[in-house]
Subunit: 600 residues, 2 copies
């Protein structure tokens, strides 16, 4: 049940694919040298593998409990969280001004990945604190920032996001929680919020809830939503803790997975109203929330990658140890470790290729985010921002969809043993299932990708990205190893086919989004998957080029990277064309769109 952070691959991706050396020349990020990066990764790897990973299975067996509104985290979590705070991990990518380390997102990404791989339930807590920090940085007053940020960034306090209500899930327009303004400038909040991750716990001395609610005169729908700070304990002028606020945990959900992460039902204002402080302006809450959601969505993508990596490592360990059946090629008279059987190789290679492709795309996206924040040139910043914004729904949607598939393959590699809970593979299968749902389902990501990121600018940005793929294709074709390593020809052929499928899908969406909106959005998830497959394939192609010629220095790693890229080309990329057909075949009144409610 051990976990070893894949620091070799992480470093390879950061330096060879995601431009670490460029990021570390940006103003503010000059500390992020290769040496610092290595030191941070090594220290993170130690903490994650030694402290967090061993708590993962016990946490699943002993979920957090709620008694009379008091939530007790799973055994060992409080102590581990203290070490997390001690290590300064919460502040890794947050501004030095408030006590953070101000490191680039490119470096924060592998750290977050290993955190979630080691212990997904644990990792959701700091991840939500990150979201609260982002929102305060964006829209908080100077006083609010000074009051809350240092303690959130140190990890002394944690944060939550309170969006969902029983009737308002994906549809925030239906939100009902009320915020009534008071004479002193504060608000009183009333309402029920559900699915609040780490909404109550005993790991930190205070919890800063960020809550969406409506003021009395707010317009209906999403334009009437405001964002409030509602701390569990009120915070005095001097930063010390005051009275207990009127927000209480009613119950915890009994979930399929992620059991050590308490999912709370929170009741606001049962005893006169919870004191809240407006963030930014009234009725602009959704806008702020979207900024922090974008960060959170990217982080959930990393959770998918981390979980997939963990499931992969577990399956590999089992496949090397389990001896069963003679090889089909007759190369041995006796049974061999199952890792030698072709279908087990297929499953492990598929898990590996999906995970490595997604990792590469996510880190490349993080690098664009860093350039979008810190590049001295405004036009460059805007260009990188646009690419990052395009990639976020893909990183979120595709990395989490594949995490479910990878975790499922992980169970399959274990055979009957995988179905037994003590083995541990089943936990990943259960845990993974929330990832394509929370922080916006895959369909929500896909609608964002189609509507705001692909169609709105008439396809300009996506065509710019496809032109970059063409450049990589040309590079593959001209590569000196093209003739000698069949991975090059396979990748060239399949990446080209995938990229053509992507282009035709984009053309179809642009041509039909107005005339047949349902047909286009019916293909949104297929388009998200197609983009994920092709863009991750593009990164695997770049990895193939970067690995080629280096085999001598590390034959295990570089040889495996090239073989994995080859496998990605022949086993993953061809799916793009199947998705294209689903997308471009859609017409209102035909197939699934012909089915009325009563026909299901």
């Amino acid at each position: 049940m051990s976990y070893t952070p894949p620091t070799t691959d992480m470093t390879f991706v950061m330096t060879e694919l995601a431009g670490l050396d460029t990021v570390s020349t940006l103003p503010g990020f000059t500390d992020a040298t290769r040496a610092t990066v290595q030191a941070v990764l090594d220290e993170g790897a130690r903490f994650c593998s030694e402290v967090l990973a061993p708590l993962n299975l016990p946490g699943d067996r002993n979920p957090a409990t709620c008694e009379n509104g008091k939530v007790t985290a799973s055994p060992g979590f409080k102590e581990a969280f203290a070490q997390f705070v001690e290590g300064g991990w919460q502040g890794l990518m947050h501004p030095a001004e408030y006590g953070g380390q101000g490191l680039p997102k490119l470096l924060a990404s592998p750290c977050l990945e290993m955190l979630t791989a080691a212990n997904l339930s644990f990792a959701t807590c700091p991840s939500l604190t990150d979201g609260a920090i982002e929102a305060l940085l964006l829209a908080g007053t100077r006083a609010q920032k000074q009051r809350y940020l240092p303690k959130l960034i140190s990890g002394q306090w944690t944060g939550t996001m309170n969006l969902t209500e029983p009737q308002a899930g994906s549809d925030l327009a239906m939100l009902r929680a009320r915020a009534v303004p008071q004479q002193d400038g504060t608000y009183r909040l009333f309402g029920t919020k559900i699915f609040i991750t780490w909404g109550e716990h005993d790991m930190a001395e205070n919890i800063v809830h960020l809550v969406l609610a409506r003021t009395p005169d707010a317009p209906p729908g999403v334009k009437g939503i405001s964002l409030f700070i509602v701390p569990k304990f009120l915070v005095d002028e001097d930063g010390s803790l005051g009275a207990r606020n009127d927000v209480h945990c009613v119950s915890l959900e009994h979930k399929l997975g992620l059991k050590a992460s308490p999912t709370a039902v929170l009741q606001f204002g049962e005893h006169g109203g919870a004191t809240g402080h407006l963030i930014g302006e009234e009725n602009r809450g959704l806008e702020y929330m979207f900024v922090m959601m974008n960060a959170a969505r990217f982080a959930v993508g990393l959770q998918g990658i981390g979980l997939a990596e963990r499931a992969y490592q577990k399956a590999v360990a089992y496949a090397k140890e389990r001896v069963q059946s003679r090889p089909v090629d007759g190369s041995s008279d006796g049974p061999v470790p199952i890792v030698q059987h072709p279908d087990v190789k297929r499953m492990l290679s598929t898990m590996r290729a999906l995970t490595q492709g997604a990792r590469a795309l996510a880190y490349v996206a993080a690098s664009h985010s860093d350039l979008a924040h810190a590049h001295p040139d405004a036009a460059e910043r805007a260009s990188h921002r646009a690419i990052y914004d395009y990639l976020v729904p893909i990183v979120k949607g595709w990395s989490t969809e594949l995490a479910v598939e990878v975790a499922s393959l992980g169970v399959q590699v274990h055979g009957g043993t995988g179905f037994i809970e003590e083995t541990g593979a089943a936990q990943y299968y259960r845990d993974a299932r929330i990832l394509p749902i929370y922080e916006g389902t895959t369909a929500i990501q896909a609608n964002d990708l189609v509507g705001r990121k692909t169609v709105r600018d008439g396809g300009k940005l996506v065509r710019h990205i496809m032109a970059r793929i063409d450049a990589t294709l040309a590079e593959l074709h001209a590569h000196r190893a093209f003739g000698s390593n069949p991975a090059f020809a396979a990748m060239c052929h399949q990446l080209d086919a995938g990229r053509m499928s992507m282009a035709r899908a984009v053309d179809f969406m642009l041509a039909n989004v107005k005339a047949d909106t349902n047909a286009v959005f019916g293909g949104a998830v297929a388009y998200l998957k197609l983009s994920g497959i092709v863009l991750c394939g593009w990164q695997m192609a770049r990895a193939l080029i970067a690995a080629s010629g280096r085999e001598a220095s590390n034959p295990v790693f570089y040889g495996a990277k090239m073989a994995t890229a080859h496998h990605y080309a022949t086993h993953i990329l061809p799916q793009a064309t199947a998705l294209e057909i689903a997308i471009v075949s859609a017409r209102s009144g035909e197939g699934m769109l012909a089915l009325s409610g009563e026909q299901f």
Copy 2:
């Protein structure tokens, strides 16, 4: 949490696609008229929906328990099982000679499907009894048959299959259980068997264990395995129960799903040896076991279909009830039931298309099995037998792989609510995961499909099947609705593409199986999926033809059938070509086959 057996679709498939009217002319099956079939389905539907379905979620919450070797089934199971026995369901397809009803497998299939849909954990018990009955019918002596069959067929006793040992899962060659011959012609059995479904319980007065073990002088490997009857209580000459046998339940597994189905560790011979009776001849046990496994594999395929149908019905009910978000096409100013959103339609249509396609193929296979048993002409019997044997690994492998996918989509349709255990969608996701594993993993099925069913006869049989697809393609093309209903052109185009992919995959395997065995078997699962997709697509094409022109009589059903076939064509069939590429690209020393153990 209700379940309504889809008897309209079941009847449509049986009569229009699987040739019920032909089967009911076969000697022995003349009772299976349309009227009888309808009566049996209606009665089965009542029992399944009213008695078994309501026990499914409670069974998951209250698994069977084991105390001091005594296993108590989940609450209500014992009473439900008594009703199952009372209704004569166990004997449905077994010979009238021993008290069964002798109905065709074609009719038993929908009954088994609805049983498993209603309550998969419950259904595994009679399913294993079926296996024991098949083995006894095949290889039991006249005395053994008379002693055991009537009580197994009535359901008074249940049966188990004891294959797996800790070191011997897929690889039965590694089996160690011992059977020592005694003076009186019986054997004493010693050893530990694991993963024994319903290996101990309180629902029946006796349990007939069929056990694989080695006699002292048996040759090593699979050629030294014999099959034994080891009843929980010894059975006297007159059929009355005698002494308790030396086989005991040591513990039950703590599983991901299927929790109400007790999975036992059985210890044989801790107290001097369990008394066993040889079935058939020594060292031919695996051969007999394979016969019953073939029946069991087909039954597990039906389990996949039943589970998928149940998950689909649950998701549909939620999608009709849950109101969230305005339609993307602007057709309403307010939120609508999510069933109206294009991506929810996509998910539900995909669940529906996969399930209906698999149902059609399974029932068609059942019909071939009936013809193989009962056709008066020996050549016809052999021909149907060959087709059935080809279809069994596909029905098992593909229907169970898709069950996992469908159950996962079912959770996704529910959004965050799907992750909460009380909702019930998560149970299907957990339960489904065992299906591609037990009774032979998908890889085991795929190796059988490639090795014994496709390659051994030089592709003759599979080409015969593909020629039948060609006939359907010609029929589609010539159909009067071809010009007016776009589903025809879409199906024609995509089924043709899939069939061509299948042909190229077969050509590749035939050409390379000797020279590059690993490459061929590395593509075995892809080939199984490809075959599943194309053959189920073929059935959906036949369904499209059969439904066309009947819309007036039942627009909801026939209209939905044609739309579902159309969706299958554009969303499922195109995956065949992606799988073909994975298959035909394989070469030893490249891609996944280049990865050594240490490189994973």
